[in-house]
Amino acid sequence: MSTTVTTSAKRLNYLNVDHGMKSWLLTKDHKRIAILYLISLSFFFLIGGLMAVFIRIELATPAGDLVEPDTYNRLFTMHGVLMIFLFLIPGVPAVLGNFLIPIMIGAKDLAFPKLNLASWYVFNAGGLFMIWAMLHGGVDTGWTFYTPYSTAFTDTHVIATALGAFIAGFASIMTGLNFIVTIHRMRAPGLTWFRLPLFVWAHYATALIQVLGTPVVAITILLVAAERLLGIGIFDPALGGDPVLFQHLFWFYSHPAVYIMILPAMGVISELITAFARKRIFGYKFVAFSSVAIAVLGFLVWGHHMFVSSQSVYAGILFSVLSMLVAVPSAVKTFNWTATLYQGSISWQTPMIYALGFLGLFVIGGLTGTMLATLGIDIHVHDTYFVVAHFHYIMVGGAIMAYLGGLHFWWPKMTGRMYPVFWSKISAGLVFFGFNLTFFPQFILGYLGMPRRYHAYPEEFQVLNVLSSAGATILGLGYLIPIIYFIWSMRYGERAPANPWGAYGLEWEIPSPPTTYNFEETPVVTREAYDYTGIEEKSVA
């Protein structure tokens, strides 16, 4: 491995350039803000995970015997709300994207550093609203806030939670706006669009969704709050209002929101696979454009959440065929990643194990997604555990696997320390195995007809539920181990060289951890992305 750059501890970097709470809380450095986000997200992830623990314990037996039905409803609602709005949506972009995008494009910072810091505060303000609501009894509408239940029937803290989601949504818009402007205007000389790492492409596509979709859910949530607070009942059936209109407006964002979670994850996977196969990605342009295609087409398919909602049959057919189209760019990515492995030089490092695991799980998640988009199948499995299993395969098996893979890949860059390889491989294995044991049985449960959001269920579903709960235990362990060794590594970990993996990319050419302005002078890019062969060999081919 190349260890070209000095590992002297005295060198000034973004971590030790300044000390004290104030230097962190008022920082404008995108790398420090990424760390701040990492801390916030980990906190919300742990709370959301704790809710999942209670859910799985409750479901180990058919009778609803651990908690009251009402408590259970609050548990799964808060699990969904926290995991989606406060972990998965900010997720990869806010931590890895914030840290890496300016470096990958050879810039000193994002275009609007103050806006970036503001987004972190806004995000936490949104989180505080939700935590406040949770401590005061929570909310029980499901993360989807379907009307009229959310507007006229529940007496839980809908307004606080909805405002929390609304505010966190603004943080997401700020991040997206910042990324779009940065990627357009701050690229280093020579760094053309087709020399950008695919991670940047993926984040650009994600930012498009954040900017174009989030406002719609913001106004929708605001209208729910207005109906509860002021009596302005836009969705009130008594006034001719249509609860299905709420669903249209809600899913216009909330379906693309799934791509906010998975697109950056796909960007991470492109980086991991090329780095650990030491090879230019197969079909660069196809992978790059497929990100944009997913972002655009992803906006045209939301009605597939409403096939049995009394939406018109023709609209259902239209949304179904559009949903099939959006599967194609995802398939293209998968095939290109697999083809990248062919004749690569594949190293079984921890991040690569996550990346390969992602491939397997994402294929299952994606294919079951197309099954759900098939009208005839959806009638039966809609709102059952089949759906629950499908989206966990995408969000946990996809987004979180990539998030963890990315963290393991860039951790040396972010902290300047290595983590224990042995334990990291153990935990990667536990996550993969535990995940499958948790969620695969849920596909079967779903086809059997077990509806989601049930806190008690008929006895014949028990065996599969017990398997699922057992898997969740293993999965939970798999998540706890990295938290421990990451924290451990910050003090005791071996010092990381500038490029511990022998990977290609601007971020590996600067020291670990980087200095505040990343580059001593603006780099000039002359080579293609993932150019492992060097120029001389390319002229032969």
Binding site: L245, H248, L300, W302, S312, V313, A315
Partner: protein, 99 residues
């Protein structure tokens, strides 16, 4: 990119056109033209908005990127409205029982 400076004359011309269009749209609103009323009102609104976007907001003289951003904004609005209406305008069309 060198900045284009629009002259005040053009601003005043645009302002006057907007006023004329406002007067026309109010006047037409009271005429009995059937479905044309809606069409005219919206056409005038779109024209007025275009004038503001092109001249007051300088899009006419800005980069292709800015134009793309503006177009994307309205295109996504159309996605939202058109696909939502695809539900409302086809509801009840499947009533014909299977024979």
């Amino acid at each position: 990119m060198s900045e284009h400076i629009t002259s005040p004359k053009i601003y005043i011309l645009v302002f006057l056109s907007l006023m004329v269009l406002t007067t026309v749209t109010v006047a037409v609103a009271f005429m009995e033209l059937g479905p044309l009323n809606d069409v005219i009102a919206l056409t005038i609104a779109v024209s007025k908005a275009s004038l503001v976007v092109l001249y007051f907001m300088h899009v006419r003289h800005s980069t292709p990127l800015t134009k793309l951003v503006v177009v994307a904004g309205f295109l996504w609005l159309i996605f939202l409205i058109a696909l939502t209406l695809s539900d409302y305008y086809t509801r009840g069309m499947i009533r014909t029982p299977l024979g």
